[in-house]
């Protein structure tokens, strides 16, 4: 992961495609575990119940959570870029109204030619801090946003370097991975909030039932397995948002540099003297 800079563009694209697929698989698998794990625990705890009581046989939770995860991943992929842009309060530059915006549009057009990608949609965030980001799913559906502060701070050359860097993220498909990651993290955080609220009530009610099953476990022998499963399962629920917080940090650290090297390679070949 750390030697991303030595990879060429196609290897980077391949790596990002693979990571995106892994991310989606991991995301769905985790939800499946939360669901089916819960089903299995419920199944074990109701197995020894009298025949008139409820027996949890069909894995409703697992199926429901897996479907939710698949839908979430699809939704995140389809609307992630929109959501990211919306959350920053960016507005699209369609008709540039002042020289700064015109220059930005020009620079993006230039760098798009240099990178050999279609011109991405351009956005401006009204924020005095200099910053820029790119989002999208592929070079055909890409967005590039810069803050007003960046436009005020940078001269033309510097703006070119920044835009070139962001286009590098577009070209090597960093944007796909990062946007999906951001959207999924947001989704998990939201769902975790909701789920803990529901589950907290459920745990209190299930506490009595758990005690009962432990009593039954002494006879059956499913006790230790059930206990371990329950602990791991509850830990998974608690750790879910933490894991999803750590994941993007790792991903972005491993790739924070490759975009810049990709984007500036063409620029520097043209006016290298300015960049020494």
């Amino acid at each position: 992961m750390s030697d991303d800079t030595s990879l060429n563009l196609f290897q980077q694209q391949e790596a990002n495609r693979r990571r995106t697929v892994l991310l989606v698989i991991g995301f769905v698998a985790f939800f499946a575990w939360l669901g089916f794990g819960g089903d299995y625990i419920y199944y074990l705890s109701t197995r020894d119940a009298p025949s008139t009581a409820y027996h949890h046989v069909f894995p409703w939770f697992g199926i429901a959570l897996t479907v939710i995860a698949l839908l979430t991943a699809w939704y995140a992929y389809a609307t992630g870029p929109e959501k990211v842009l919306w959350s920053t309060g960016a507005r699209a530059v369609v008709d540039p109204t002042d020289p700064q915006e015109q220059q930005l549009v020009n620079v993006v057009e230039e760098m798009a030619i240099a990178a050999g990608v279609p011109r991405p949609r351009i956005w401006i965030v009204d924020d005095p801090d200099p910053n820029a980001f790119a989002t999208g799913t592929d070079p055909l559906h890409a967005h590039i946003a810069v803050t007003r502060g960046l436009l005020q701070l940078c001269n033309r050359e510097e703006l070119q370097a920044v835009v070139g860097h962001e286009l590098g993220h577009v070209k090597n498909l960093d944007v796909r991975l990062m946007t999906l990651l951001a959207a999924l993290v947001g989704a998990v955080a939201l769902m975790h909030d909701g789920a803990t609220r529901i589950l907290r009530g459920g745990f209190y009610a299930g506490g009595g039932g758990g005690g009962g099953s432990r009593g039954g476990g002494k006879k059956g022998g499913a006790g230790p397995l059930l206990a371990i499963l329950l602990v791991v399962w509850i830990l998974s629920w608690i750790l879910a948002p933490i894991i999803t917080q750590i994941l993007p940090a790792r991903c972005s650290r491993s790739c924070s540099w490759c975009g810049s090297s990709r984007g500036s390679s063409r620029r520097s070949s043209r006016r290298s003297s300015r960049w020494r």
């Binding site: 220059q103 057009e109 230039e110 033309r156």
Partner: protein, 194 residues
């Protein structure tokens, strides 16, 4: 048994042939597209220059020769009527001449701060800078694509299909002009030109 192996080898060879042929055709069209990219930017440049010249003309009466050189080079470049990569030598010669004439003009414009402050010279300058950059980047893209195309059609075994795909080596965009290659001499002494 033997005939089966022969058949498999034949099918394999045919599949490779189709792949290699299509690969070459695809690169050929990419090269053509990259060339059109330059063409689009050059057209824009030709359209921009009269505007710029008109905007600075009034304030720069005594820089007539610089302005005229630009107009002349521009008209020369417009006259070149080549539509494909075959005419690239011709186009690049005319465009390079225009580039150096333009650069001289821009150096002169820099000496008139009041010119930049008034009117839309600043805006025109931005447009021109952008167009120059686009031309340069489009040229890079063309050269990269054409090199890929040339390499592919020369490399074995794709070279065997090159004739079938009517692949011809594409000319690269080069700096023909010796003056362009040299480090520009900028005269800031403000002495009247002889």
């Amino acid at each position: 048994m033997f005939s089966w192996i022969l058949l498999a080898a034949l099918i394999g060879a045919l599949l490779w042939l189709i792949g290699a042929y299509n690969g070459l055709i695809s690169l050929k069209n990419q090269t053509l597209n990259a060339f059109k990219q330059i063409d689009v930017q050059l057209k824009r440049r030709h359209d921009l220059i009269p505007n710029l010249v008109n905007a600075v003309k009034g304030a720069m009466e005594f820089e007539r020769s610089t302005l005229e050189a630009v107009i002349q080079a521009r008209n020369q470049a417009v006259k070149v009527n080549a539509t494909g990569p075959e005419g690239i030598k011709q186009i690049s010669q005319a465009e390079n001449a225009l580039s150096s004439a333009l650069q001289r003009l821009m150096v002169v414009v820099e000496q008139y701060p009041q010119l930049k402050a008034t009117g839309n010279i600043g805006q025109l300058q931005e447009e021109l800078t952008s167009t120059e950059n686009k031309v340069a980047f489009a040229r890079q893209l063309y050269n990269d694509t054409a090199t890929q195309y040339n390499t592919k059609q020369q490399q074995f075994p794709t070279s065997m299909v090159a004739g079938l795909a009517k692949a011809q080596p594409a000319d690269l965009w080069e700096l023909e002009d010796q003056a362009e290659k040299a480090v520009p001499q900028v005269d800031l002494s403000m002495k009247p030109k002889v």
